[in-house]
């Protein structure tokens, strides 16, 4: 038997429970079967601790089995197992007891991406102070690379916090309320962070992501607060973003529109 055939037969015996006839002269195949399933479900639980709390051990293991059957791991690191769980549960809402749990999965995966996402120097106030007045109109900010903007239909974040902080693993959380809103998830220092956004702040952050200049951000804000108050409103947000490390200092790639990290 070729090596590849030995390995395919063994792999099927572990993942599909197939009998490996004539492959083995000594049989502890059940040890591998059990360890594989336990390891993968534990990896999923590590990425979705609050979804696990919401569902409980048994229902979470059932979800894990369904996910494992349709999305076996192909990544080198088990850290990435579960990357498609949010899409998986959205596709088949019957897997979950409540539609908000799918959004909870989306929220938790985004937090995990913020945890070990790329590092970037936060934009400092000194870089802005050094700008000439004429440079502001064409100024383009950059978001920290861990910034993710989620559009949610349920108030999942407060429920997430309640469950994540609860000492009692059987804590019964409040039911999430229907709420169309945006949440920003990012990393401040080493700490994954999140907060809800007003529609204006969400629009401005999306504008930054789409490369809008400060002048264009002011035009966007003007539609909400009126043109005369728009620059002050945008600057108010910028001040908060600096404190929260939501903006990144970026190299001046095009020579003018970004803020030079050296001056941060």
């Amino acid at each position: 038997m070729r090596l590849i055939d030995v390995q395919r037969t063994m792999q099927r015996a572990i993942t599909e429970g197939a009998d490996p006839p004539a492959l083995l002269s000594a049989g502890g195949i059940a040890v591998y079967r059990h360890a594989w399933r336990a390891r993968m479900i534990e990896a999923l639980r590590a990425n979705y601790p609050v979804v696990h709390r919401v569902l409980g051990d048994e229902a979470f293991a059932e979800l894990g089995d369904a996910y494992l059957a349709s999305h076996p791991s192909h990544r080198r690191s088990i850290r990435w197992f579960g990357d498609r769980l949010p899409a998986f549960v959205r596709q088949d809402p019957g897997l979950l007891p409540h539609p908000a749990v799918a959004e909870m999965a989306c929220f938790e995966w985004a937090l995990s991406l913020a945890f070990d996402g790329p590092d970037a120097e936060p934009l400092g106030v000194a870089a802005l102070a050094a700008l000439e007045p004429g440079e502001w109109a064409s100024l383009r900010f950059a978001l920290h690379p861990t910034c993710q903007l989620l559009r949610l239909e349920w108030s999942v974040a407060p429920v997430w916090r309640e469950l994540a902080d609860a000492d009692d693993p059987n804590h019964q959380a409040s039911r999430p309320e229907p709420l169309d809103h945006a949440v920003l998830i990012w990393r401040k220092g080493l700490q994954p962070s999140w907060r809800s956004l007003t529609p204006l702040e969400a629009g401005l952050l999306e504008g930054i992501r789409n490369g809008l200049s400060f002048e264009a951000l002011c035009a966007l804000a003007g539609d909400v607060v009126g043109e005369p108050d728009a620059p002050t409103a945008v600057l108010g947000f910028v001040q908060q973003w600096l404190v929260d490390e939501i903006l990144a200092a970026t190299p001046a790639a095009d020579g003018q529109s970004h803020i030079d990290s050296q001056s941060a």
Partner: protein, 282 residues
């Protein structure tokens, strides 16, 4: 330049990041890090890795090379591994003599190879490919196993010794794995130890296991058992002192407990080495 490593180490686990980051002179001579835990873009894992690396020598230990798989080696993974090597300059880089999946699946387990001439011929160029990339010998670890293949043509120890001879790889000798496999397959673990080329052994792993009588499982969630300490002492008597560490992967105790266990490892190794030297002089 990479530092030479000697003495007694621990696997670096997240529970102990703060301890190692806060204290530069804990009684641990070096640390082993799981390579895959740090193949991430940034954030806390890499922050603590670099902070702790400033104070402690390190070796890198991977779980996903899948050197024995029938699939081609994952060059993207190898590239990431090389970047991490350049970043932390470990004394050496190890992984397991096993396969973790085929047809691009990863079972995230360390599956045994059939001990055949064909497997040896499969491994040799793959080890050469990795060694060319990392510019140093690859260190491979014997795994624990719960099955044996009908196709086996030789013992595990003959297979490993021959692989070392052909490929120039080095050995991370996991004494607990030798014990676990010996119990599961009914061989004398000392035959395994006796067959290892002493000069190729660069590191030793010790760990705890679960003993179910007719089945012994390598769990890494208990302290090292006395019978493994005995086999470790036998090993040191045969091959001399080697950098040795405790692998604890689950039910991680406070660092003070692992340091106490490491002190016992140190004492057992020193006593075994002293006894060998005394016998040689007598």
């Amino acid at each position: 330049m990479t530092p030479d490593i000697s003495g007694f180490g621990l696997g670096l686990r997240t529970d102990h990041y703060a301890d190692f980051a806060a204290t530069a002179d804990l009684p641990v001579d070096w640390l082993e890090v799981i390579s895959e835990n740090f193949l991430v873009p940034g954030g806390k894992p890499l922050h603590f890795l670099e902070r702790i690396r400033a104070d402690y020598p390190m070796v890198m230990h991977g779980v996903s090379l899948s050197i024995g798989s029938a699939d081609v080696l994952d060059v993207d993974y190898l590239g990431q591994l090389k970047s991490l090597v350049d970043r932390i300059e470990p004394a050496w880089i190890s992984d397991h003599l096993c396969w973790t999946g085929v047809d691009h699946a990863n079972l995230h387990d360390l599956l045994p190879l059939p001990y055949t001439e064909a497997a040896l011929r499969h491994l040799e160029p793959r080890i050469a490919q990795v060694q060319d990339l990392i510019k140093r010998p690859l260190v491979l670890e014997n795994v624990s196993s719960y099955v044996a293949y009908a196709a086996d043509e030789m013992s595990e120890w003959a297979f490993i010794a021959e692989l070392i001879r052909r490929s120039g790889c080095r050995l991370l000798l996991d004494v607990n794995n030798v014990y676990v496999s010996a119990r599961n397959h009914g061989f004398d673990p000392r035959c395994f130890i006796d067959a290892m080329p002493a000069e190729a052994v660069v590191q030793i792993h010790l760990a705890g296991h679960e003993d179910h009588g007719d089945l012994v499982i390598d769990t890494h969630d208990h302290p090292i058992r006395d019978e493994v300490f005995d086999l470790y002492a036998y090993t040191i008597g045969r091959i001399g002192l080697r950098p040795t560490m405790i692998e604890r992967d689950d039910r991680i105790p406070p660092l003070s407990e692992l340091l106490a266990e490491l002190a016992r490892v140190r004492a057992v190794a020193t006593a075994a080495d002293d006894a060998t030297r005394a016998a040689a002089c007598a």
